[in-house]
C-alpha cells in the first residue's frame, strides 16, 4: 500500500513542478531513480526512447512506464493520474481569468526564470544519459588514471555523429519522425553489439 501512495505523491510533485513539456519530466525521473532506487538511470533513458516511439504525450508515457516498472498496472494508473492532476486543477482555477493570466507581469517574470531553469535541468539529465552511453561502465569502475580515451565507447560516438548529421544537416532526413532514428539505432546496436 505504501508504495502506491508514495508513487502517487511523487508523480503529483512532478506534475506540479515540471514546466515546459514532456522532456521536462526527465530530470525529475532521474532524481526519483536516485532517491528511491526503484529503477536505474539507464532504465530512464530506455523509457524515454519507448515514450518517443509510441503515441501519446511523452510525459504521460514516461509516467505510465515508470509507474508500471515500480508497481505494475495499478502503479501505471496512479503515476499517470498523479502527473495530470496539478495541471488539471490549475486549468480549472485560471479559466476564469484566461488572458489576464498570460499577460500578468508576475507570471511573465516567473517564466523568464523558469524557461532557462527547465533547459538547464534537461541538460544536466542529458549529460547523465550521455555518461552511461559514451563511457564504458565496466572500464570506468576499474579506472586507475591515464588513458582517458580508452574509456570512450567509440562505436557509440560514431553512431551519435551519424545521427546528428541526419537529424540536423540533411533536409531529406531532418523532418523524419524520431521513431525512425530510434529503430535505426536499435538495429545498429544489435548488428554491432553495442
Amino acid at each position: 500500500m505504501m508504495i502506491y501512495l508514495r508513487l502517487f505523491w511523487e508523480f503529483l510533485k512532478i506534475g506540479l513542478f515540471s514546466v515546459g513539456g514532456g522532456m521536462a519530466t526527465l530530470p525529475f525521473l532521474y532524481d526519483l531513480a536516485d532517491k528511491t532506487g526503484w529503477f536505474t538511470g539507464a532504465q530512464v533513458a530506455d523509457m524515454l526512447a519507448v515514450s518517443e516511439s509510441t503515441p501519446g504525450p511523452i510525459g504521460i508515457n514516461m509516467a505510465t512506464y515508470t509507474g508500471y516498472t515500480v508497481a505494475g498496472v495499478p502503479g501505471a494508473v496512479l503515476a499517470s493520474v498523479g502527473i495530470i492532476l496539478p495541471g488539471l486543477a490549475l486549468v480549472l482555477i485560471i479559466t476564469a481569468m484566461l488572458e489576464k493570466f498570460r499577460k500578468n507581469r508576475y507570471v511573465e517574470g516567473a517564466f523568464y526564470g523558469l524557461r532557462p531553469a527547465s533547459v538547464a535541468l534537461i541538460t544536466a539529465a542529458g549529460l547523465l544519459v550521455a555518461k552511461i552511453t559514451f563511457l564504458d561502465e565496466a572500464l570506468l569502475e576499474a579506472y586507475s588514471g591515464g588513458g582517458f580515451l580508452s574509456l570512450i565507447s567509440w562505436k557509440a560516438v560514431i553512431l551519435a555523429a551519424v545521427l546528428l548529421v541526419m537529424t540536423r544537416w540533411f533536409k531529406s532526413t531532418k523532418k523524419l519522425h524520431p521513431v525512425v532514428f530510434i529503430v535505426l539505432s536499435a538495429a545498429v546496436g544489435i548488428l554491432f553489439r553495442f
Binding site: 506534475g15 506540479l16 513542478f17 515540471s18 513539456g21 522532456m23 526527465l26 525529475f28 532524481d31 539507464a42 526512447a49 518517443e52 509510441t54 503515441p55 504525450p57 510525459g59 504521460i60 505510465t64 512506464y65 508500471y68 516498472t69 498496472v73 494508473v77 502527473i83 495530470i84 495541471g87 488539471l88 486549468v91 480549472l92 485560471i94 488572458e99 498570460r102 507581469r105 508576475y106 507570471v107 517574470g109 516567473a110 523568464y112 526564470g113 523558469l114 524557461r115 531553469a117 527547465s118 538547464a120 534537461i122 544536466a124 539529465a125 542529458g126 544519459v129 559514451f134 551519435a160 545521427l163 537529424t167 540536423r168 524520431p178 530510434i182 536499435a186 545498429v188 546496436g189 553495442f194
Partner: protein, 184 residues
C-alpha cells in the same frame, strides 16, 4: 453523461493519434474539436495551447482540459484528462510488460544500448530548440550555468531549482520595471 463520454473519446483520439506531443497535437486537436464537433474556434484552441504551456504538467493534457472545462466544467476537464492518458496507459503497459520479460535477452540489451545513443541526440536536439526561446540574455545564461552545475555536483531536488528560478525571474522583472519606471 453522453457529452462527458464524447469529451472523453475526443481526448482519447487526440492522445492516440499524436506522436510525441507538443506541436504535433495541434492539427489533430483542430480536426477533432474545431472542424468535427465545432466545440471551439481555431483562436480558442491556440489560446488554450499557449496557456497550457504556462502551466506545469503535460501540455497536451492541459490543453484538452480547457476544452473539457468549457463544455462541462470540472467533470468535463476530468473526462478530457482521463481520455488523454488512456491510450498511453494501454500501449505503454503492454510494451513495458513485454520489454520487462525480454530485458535479459542480449539482443534486447544491444538494441537499447544503440537506442540510448539516439536518445542522447534527441535530447541534445530538443535542448537546442528550447535554448533559442529560453536563454535570451546574459542573466538567463548565468542562471542556466548555475543550475546545470548545481544539479550535476550537488544532491539537490529539481523542485528547489524550479522554485528558486521562478522567484528569481519575478524579482528580476520587478527590479527592471522599477528601474524603467524611475527613468521614465
Amino acid at each position: 453523461m453522453k457529452e462527458l463520454l464524447q469529451i472523453y473519446l475526443a481526448a482519447l483520439r487526440v492522445g492516440a493519434l499524436t506522436f510525441g506531443g507538443g506541436y504535433a497535437m495541434l492539427p489533430i486537436l483542430q480536426k477533432e474539436v474545431v472542424e468535427g464537433r465545432k466545440w471551439n474556434t481555431e483562436a480558442e484552441i491556440l489560446d488554450y495551447y499557449a496557456l497550457a504551456q504556462c502551466l506545469p504538467g503535460i501540455i497536451m493534457v492541459n490543453t484538452l482540459s480547457f476544452v473539457g472545462q468549457k463544455r462541462r466544467g470540472k467533470t468535463g476537464a476530468l473526462a478530457a484528462g482521463l481520455g488523454a492518458i488512456t491510450p498511453s496507459l494501454i500501449i505503454i503497459t503492454l510494451i513495458a510488460a513485454v520489454l520487462t520479460a525480454f530485458a535479459d535477452v542480449p539482443a534486447v540489451q544491444h538494441a537499447f544500448a544503440g537506442i540510448r545513443v539516439c536518445v542522447c541526440v534527441l535530447i541534445f536536439n530538443s535542448i537546442l530548440k528550447l535554448w533559442k526561446s529560453s536563454v535570451i540574455d546574459g542573466i538567463c545564461l548565468a542562471l542556466f550555468l548555475v543550475i546545470v552545475l548545481g544539479s550535476l555536483f550537488f544532491d539537490i531536488t529539481p523542485i528547489a531549482f524550479v522554485v528558486a528560478a521562478a522567484v528569481f525571474g519575478v524579482l528580476i522583472t520587478l527590479a527592471r520595471t522599477r528601474k524603467g519606471g524611475g527613468a521614465a
